[in-house]
Symmetry: D2
Subunit: 212 residues, 4 copies
């Protein structure tokens, strides 16, 4: 039983999955903006992705891109600068947990996108602001968005807000989403549940997908 309200149930035929920013430079060990709780979420993220593939739910991966010249966001995330190249395209970095180099904006290898998935590159936190995410979802007749990934209370929260603004029912998968810290996580979930979308956990979501 969820501790959060259940204002609506999932209609799997109208659903789309949005995997937020599960990219090396946020998730891998030694990343400039490493968030260990996002790494810990990988197994649940993978379970939701697999369930969506089985149910033919369209899957969109978001990627946060920075550079090549200074914009306001650099004020808040100093590792975006040229000397660090955090989240720059066409840049590789060595990560300790995989013991090799990888493109810093690539989705982590455990959940690599497959042919037929969509990839959306964005330059701000939220997935809908000045991207083609809304039109990809419309082209797939998506009305309900399952959202998870990296991380609360920034990129995930603003993607939830953007989905709500555009009239999508939101399902935020709490245990498949990382956070900057515990206090932020707790507040983001409470905030989302109060005014933006339904907060679910992975078991609950997959059960609902199968029973639909």
């Amino acid at each position: 039983m969820s501790e959060y309200p259940v204002p609506f149930k999932l209609d799997v035929g109208k659903a789309g999955l949005i995997v937020v920013d599960m990219q090396n430079d946020f998730v891998r060990v030694g990343a400039p903006m490493e968030l260990p709780s996002c790494r810990a979420a990988i197994p649940n993220v993978k379970r939701v992705i697999d369930a969506c593939r089985t149910a033919k739910v369209p899957i969109v991966y978001l990627k946060f891109i920075a550079g090549p010249r200074e914009t306001l966001i650099w004020t808040w995330s100093p590792t975006l600068v040229p000397s660090d190249k955090c989240c720059w395209k066409n840049h590789k970095r060595r990560y300790a947990d995989i013991g090799k180099e990888a493109e810093v904006t690539d989705i982590v290898e455990e959940i690599t996108p497959q042919s037929g998935d969509w990839i959306v590159e964005k330059y701000s936190y939220g997935g809908f602001y000045e991207t083609n995410l809304h039109t990809i979802l419309q082209a797939n007749h998506v009305k309900e968005t399952i959202i998870l990934g990296a991380a609360m209370p920034f990129c995930v929260d603003d993607t939830v807000t953007g989905a709500f603004d555009r009239q999508y029912r939101v399902f935020l998968v709490a245990d498949a989403t990382g956070a900057f810290d515990e206090e932020f996580a707790k507040n983001s979930l409470r905030r989302i549940a109060k005014k933006y979308g339904r907060v679910v956990n992975t078991d609950e979501l997959i059960r609902e997908m199968r029973s639909a």
Copy 2:
């Protein structure tokens, strides 16, 4: 001294003030979505407005509008329905603290807009989503936004996010902004200060406006 970081100082010639949703149906006693902390903020809101008028800083008032037919937002704010008409245009309600009827979406009388101010009506939480706020600011050459009003962690936070996305430097005036509750207020300020804008208080802001 502020407890928050000071990544930039105010350049008053580039500033614009955004007064978020200080309307009867959120602020007055007996309003369907009454938020007492927003009422308590009126004196500081008024001080900032007065300082902006003196400094010829453009002033924009946001108003949240609902109705007349159901959209997703009704799921989360049930008083928006026709029987309550919370935040409907052309609807009056009696409020105990002013002892008379007033339009539910009018700005509270203590800070009534004046000729030359702008009013922006919006149908979601954030002030920038599908409104003319960005173009009003551009027409006034505004690059820095002073944001305050009603309320954290919803309409104010999403207005901050929208300003950040559009490359405005944000100054969130903490003690001129109400909140749903204390815990949300604390977290919104922490979140904004970390990735979106500078958190200031009224004294600090006005001092900076005058010394500029």
Copy 3:
């Protein structure tokens, strides 16, 4: 019989009317950007408005606003400058055909908005770019837009494009729409009919509204 294709019929229960920029500074005699063909269109504009009121179709009036400081649009429309104040808010001008002063951005008096109508102020040509038009239409469950007014090939065409982008079926009312000149009018109608919406005339539209 229309000379244009009929890809869909009007569903009046889903319709909304968008009256584009029928304001004094474009329409009245002596206006800085006077377009006589818009003045000639007033009777048909009025017929469509009356038919929409009878059928309870929501009505939105667009107004083009300029000033107070220079933006890119001044390059193309020099009368927007402070010395002329074309389309500035809170500015009056005397027009020969009505023999009196009127606010330059007011809708012409023959079709004055009524209580319950919506007014949308915009700073560019198209009615959807950075305005609340889309959310007003959503709040009224509008899916089909009837578009007319001032003028082709600029503000009307860009409003048509904006409606098409947002998945609204468009009905452009050719004989209730003015134009910069005849050649532009002919091409705009051909262009719209080919890729954006259905071109109708006033008789045809009203007949279809009544038979629905």
Copy 4:
């Protein structure tokens, strides 16, 4: 000497190039929406691209994407349906002029994007509507957009309008841009020159880039 007005000169350090929809399914022989004038424009498109590479002007390629489920645009472009798959991702077609199969949404091989270029996928005509084009240009400090490609009066015109709305100075390269037909081309250039941007030809633009 150009026949069009010269409201501003190119500042090459602020420029970005937008190559509109020069993809196989519009340009190659036998494409479902073949536009021969776009194929004829390839040499001039290539000249502008080469000049931009030399001058380190950022280059963005737009691609129009359709499918996989019906949206309003199918009404106007019937070859977007599943049986034809015009402009669908991950679909190949044989084109007579290159004598081989190619991805239908790939940019024509004469002007293949290079590493460091940007590619923007869109689901409507204009390049700015619900895409990341604006944020890519901001990340590169672009203020002036050079626009060319396929085709007037649809995708090119709406990209021009979108650039104008967002305060970019536009340079439309007339002889590097195809059109649906001659009459549309003539009117698009006249319309753009009157209210949206500067119309140039390839020689004039390149000369101005070099003398800057």
